[in-house]
Symmetry: none
Subunit: 138 residues, 4 copies
């Protein structure tokens, strides 16, 4: 009646936050970092000093989007740009963020959550998110 | 003072779910299937194992949209694409999904509900929804 | 970085729905039955023919509450009735249902989801929920 | 045209989280801890392993309430219990939590944010919140 799965620990979430914070500091852009579980429930979150107000909501939305579709948010626009109905309809779905900075977190090939980063250009946000994901292994 | 109408039964809704589930399994993509009545109230719903988190909300929205406008969600984009106000305004209406996967359920020419399917590409979602509608007859 | 856990299958959720439906039929009261996972995301849901409109939202809220606090909703009032701040504050928390009909689903001592049932008196709802939980084993 | 004020740093928020986490571990109850600034914007948040789903929303609401009214949430019920309009109306205000576990964070007599803790009985939640506030000094 059940199947086995993996759940992200608080320790892993805090490690991801710390690594992301370090990378954002290195880049010189304050960011908000949000880690969610497979149900898109926030596991850990940090708004760095000076991170924009919008970064808080956007980081959460990127994390939601990434775990909700199971892929990086950076690939979403390429996926929908030649598909008129999706291009018109997807971006306005609630909580949907279709630019980089959200990455799924997979352990052993299994989706266990996602990270959303916001505060810089989305390409910077994704570099920070990637650093955190890399630090968690796979 | 009243007129007779038809109402979808739980038996029919569960049959639609079962047929949709079978078709999705055949296609090899786990999906969420939602059946609603004419008031867009959920009659039956199933999230298959492995269906994405986004599929839950999107399936509900497709079912809502389809019964709300009385037509397949796959036709909506063609309907609005040359109408600037609709193209700009409709996609962001709450609960509105303008890509395939939502189909009205009609019995004897009468609208009795809708099915919303999400999890694959919307063309796959619509194949699954169509299989369920076909199984209900008309 | 992760810990192992169990996830409720669609098969189990549909079985719980079927058993609950049978029990509600036996009692003679149409009900809505909702099964959620540990993130309170709907796994399966059924509104029986004739089940009240309120039963839909209330069943969902009972399932949410039961998985959110990890205990039967029927015990909540006893828990808060002698605690004035909780008695005044808990019932109005969003999605919170503090009367019977919501039960956690535990497999091997682990919380994997919950069932919410509504449509009859809450004592009837709980009998139906219990039948479904019993059928899933533990 | 301006006045100087104090703003909680990310370093302080993470320290508060760490102290709260340690205290909750000592008590043996997994909790969610949320730190907000004066605008009730989340500065840092952690859901410990095993913390209930309800703890996430409730911790946020306690932090909101505490910074919104500028006082501990544990004192709110005593304040409203003999005031019929407040007793009837305040608990159901959105995001309002009227039981212990939310504490304002004041530095130099100035309100700079709040902490919300949830997961145990509210008396346990408040002990954990107090430990974090104490660690920040004043």
């Amino acid at each position: 009646m059940t199947r086995s799965t993996q759940v992200l620990t608080a320790e892993a979430a805090l490690k991801a936050i710390a690594v992301a914070q370090e990378k954002a500091t290195e880049i010189g852009v304050p960011m908000t970092i949000c880690i969610v579980d497979v149900g898109a429930i926030t596991k850990a979150q940090l708004r760095m000093d000076g991170a924009s107000l919008s970064s808080v909501d956007v980081a959460i939305n990127k994390a939601y989007t990434s775990v909700a579709v199971g892929s990086p948010t950076s690939g979403l626009f390429d996926f929908i740009k030649s598909d008129a109905p999706l291009l018109a309809g997807l971006p306005s779905q609630p909580r949907m963020a279709i630019f980089g900075g959200g990455l799924p977190i997979q352990i052993g090939g299994e989706l266990v959550g996602a990270i959303g980063v916001s505060g810089g250009h989305y390409s910077q946000d994704e570099v920070v998110a990637q650093a955190a994901v890399d630090a968690l292994g796979s």
